[in-house]
Symmetry: C2
């Protein structure tokens, strides 16, 4: 029976016999014995194994090079070395799979670009193993958070016939042969109409929230935007909770609680993975995570935020004035310099937001806002965007008309307001955005197992 190295390293006591299986990170030989640093991906740490010359399997020791798969059976004993509690004194070793001399991860110091080109081997590198364990941990924490709060997980559809907010650049899904003229005839397509990859599960999530009360989605979403930045991918995962009988306050409460929960989970349970990020990726990481964990979130209206920015005396690349969307530099000024804490900005100008957000009473100057809210954290800016939804049929219809959306296409969405309508609210968190925040990784391509970006769909 094989023991994961993570379990071996956290053993309560020495063990007379243990078997680990994994991959050689390094090996050092002397005349009488060899030291093998073994890793099986269950945690960042290696376990050191001492193999005396002459034990069964030792005849293959020269082939147990970096990257080779090896099994080791022996005693788990206290390690005299520093930084490790346990090591294994092998009674036998087994070469399971060799790694020839051209194994690309033999040497350290590869560029992220090179490692992206070997994404199938990349998780064997210490840093990327840590990234993808953190990705798993955060995803499991998302489900735990919502399960603990009686939220139902809903799988909203990936293939859709609507383009949601009219957001624009979507991928088309088809079975038509593009080389044939029939490709023009959507009635010949698989779904007998044009279909696309979803950009958001929110609207369908609203249908389920107005039946089950509290729901969330967690699934892949897509953008066919031709933008090659470090923050955009064509395929990414999004978390979208939606709550019936909930207003903007309740929405902001949940968003802040959720953000802190994920950050705390990363801080409390990362089993060493955070160390590698803090040491090699981002020296300020732990400080920034603790900042979000410990500081209360400041809430400020958009109007107040604009006043603060205008009075700041700071020179921004993008000019601030009431009516424009906040840019990342503005968001970061608010959280990093002005408030020095995480900030939730609410009540944005109606003109810059989608049709489904709830319209507020005009302010004293007659300006129209909607119940949008964004959660801002240091180093990243917006990590969550949400809103209370428009539950009033007549106001929603007017908003749709203003956005040139047909009531026929959205008949089912209007039904949610026709039958037992209620105030409801939700938000979206880009999962990769959150991962970049908790790992410090600077390029979204480096937190996705196999990233899809314009011109790039490998593996």
């Amino acid at each position: 029976m094989r023991t994961l190295i993570k379990r071996a390293l956290s053993s309560d006591s020495s063990l007379d016999t243990i078997t680990i299986k994994g991959w050689v990170r390094t090996r050092r030989d002397s005349k009488e014995f060899s030291f093998l640093e073994m890793n099986d991906g269950s945690c960042l740490a290696n376990i050191q194994c001492v193999a005396d010359a002459g034990i069964p399997g030792y005849e293959d020791i020269a082939k147990m090079t970096t990257g080779a798969a090896v099994g080791i059976t022996g005693k788990l004993v206290e390690s005299p070395g520093k930084g490790q509690k346990w090591e294994i004194h092998a009674t036998s070793v087994e070469l399971i799979g060799e790694a020839p001399a051209d194994y690309p991860l033999q040497k350290k110091g590869h560029t992220p670009e090179f490692l992206r080109s070997i994404a199938h081997l990349r998780p064997r590198a210490n840093l990327y193993g840590a990234v993808f364990r953190m990705r798993s941990r955060m995803a499991q924490a998302v489900h735990r958070f919502f399960a603990e709060r009686d939220f139902n997980y809903v799988h909203t559809p990936i293939i859709t016939d609507s383009d949601c907010e009219g957001a624009g650049e979507m991928f088309r899904v088809t079975t038509l042969d593009p080389a044939k003229a029939e490709a023009q005839q959507f009635e010949n397509d698989f779904f007998e109409k044009p279909t696309y990859l979803t950009v958001s599960g929110q609207l369908e999530g609203e249908a389920f929230a107005t039946a089950l009360s509290n729901i969330y989605t967690f699934g892949p979403t897509f953008r066919a935007e031709n933008s090659n930045t470090t923050r955009h991918a064509s395929e990414f995962w999004m978390i979208e909770p939606e709550m019936a009988f909930c207003d903007l306050q309740g929405d902001m409460d949940l968003a802040e609680e959720f953000t802190k929960y994920l950050v705390d989970d990363a801080l409390n349970n990362s089993e060493g993975d955070l160390d590698i990020f803090a040491r090699f990726v981002d020296k300020g990481l732990l400080e920034r995570l603790k900042f979000v964990s410990e500081k209360p979130f400041q809430r400020v209206s958009y109007t107040e935020a604009v006043e603060i920015l205008e009075k700041s005396g700071k020179k921004f690349d993008y000019k601030v004035e009431w009516g424009v969307n906040l840019q990342s530099e503005h968001e970061r000024y608010l959280t990093e310099e002005h408030f020095k804490c995480p900030v939730t900005v609410y009540n944005y100008p109606k003109s810059v937001k989608p049709f489904y957000m709830r319209t507020n009473e005009p302010d004293e100057k007659g300006r129209e806002t909607v119940t949008a809210m964004d959660v801002l954290v240091p180093g990243i800016g917006e990590i969550i965007g949400g809103a209370q939804r428009e539950e009033r049929m007549d106001v929603l219809q007017a908003n749709m008309a203003a956005h040139n959306l047909s009531e026929e296409d959205y008949g089912w969405y209007l039904d949610l307001r026709k039958y037992g309508s209620c105030p409801h609210a939700g938000f979206g968190m880009g999962f990769e955005r959150m991962l970049m925040f908790v790992t410090g990784m600077k390029n979204i391509r480096d937190v996705i197992p196999f990233a899809r970006t314009p011109g790039s769909c490998e593996f």
Copy 2:
């Protein structure tokens, strides 16, 4: 502060004040008071509320019809009625959103076909609320099962440039305008090559298993098959664990443990939802679930299974002989009639299985098998299919050649055998198949929030 009805009904004690918000299921009026049966989707059960004439909000009572959104504040007191522990004596009621007379869910007894046509309202029906709460519970149980066993969750890509097993019917993903001639030129497409929706995350999962040891995927997969059956959907969710240093035995162990875990979770924690399935959908449901929960799984080789079927004296629609794939009728005979317990069949003929399964030594008759395994349960047949993978480079290359797969396309997959190759194994469970098993629902369209099938992509 609103309390979910699920929480109110499981209260330890009476409460002086409580507020619930939800939708009216039924209302009965007398001269002095009204009874409202309220449901908020948090559980199957309604809570009964008694509202005396004249309390604040009572003037709207006539508008509190089936489907209307209503808030009720009052005392939580012991109910004299049978079948319910608690009821609410209202001190005020609030009409939140009316439901006009054409609300489609007023009457019971709609056909599944009609309810599919209102999939956005369907989760408000008792049966479908229960189905989608069960879907959520099972999905959360999937993550808990793997988290408890140190498996890392991997998001394998949805958009892919490979067609996996050459399985055939895939959806194409494109940003080309089908009405233009350029559509033929893949180098002009978004990813500069033809791309598709994934049919399985297994191959990418293998890359992560050979780095992190134990991983699983849980995400949407797609088939563009033009088959309109009760068991096929074009978009469905699949769970695919993969384990390094694991053989067929370990794979079967995990598959059986996983199946029992999900069934037990449904049996132990369904908060009344199972009742509605057992009463209205499938009278034999509980018996069948207990059967899987309690009985050990029988393991039988394909060769033995064929002998049993041949000797059964049973007349099957599809003839059984060594070398053919087992049909559903054969699978059900084995589990329901012959063994009377769940059955795992292993070592299938090589000719009927994909290229990546591990080739066994030929048997005494020289017949070639691979380390495939299927888990069979009563009423459904196959619920899991898996295999130990071929880890030997030369054998894998020969299998690929026999399947006309190019080594260039699968270079990265071969790398996993070139560098530190190890025995590894995994399986796939169709999530909807499992849901049909635990709910008794007979049509896959009725366990998917918004089902996608040939010619049908609504909402």
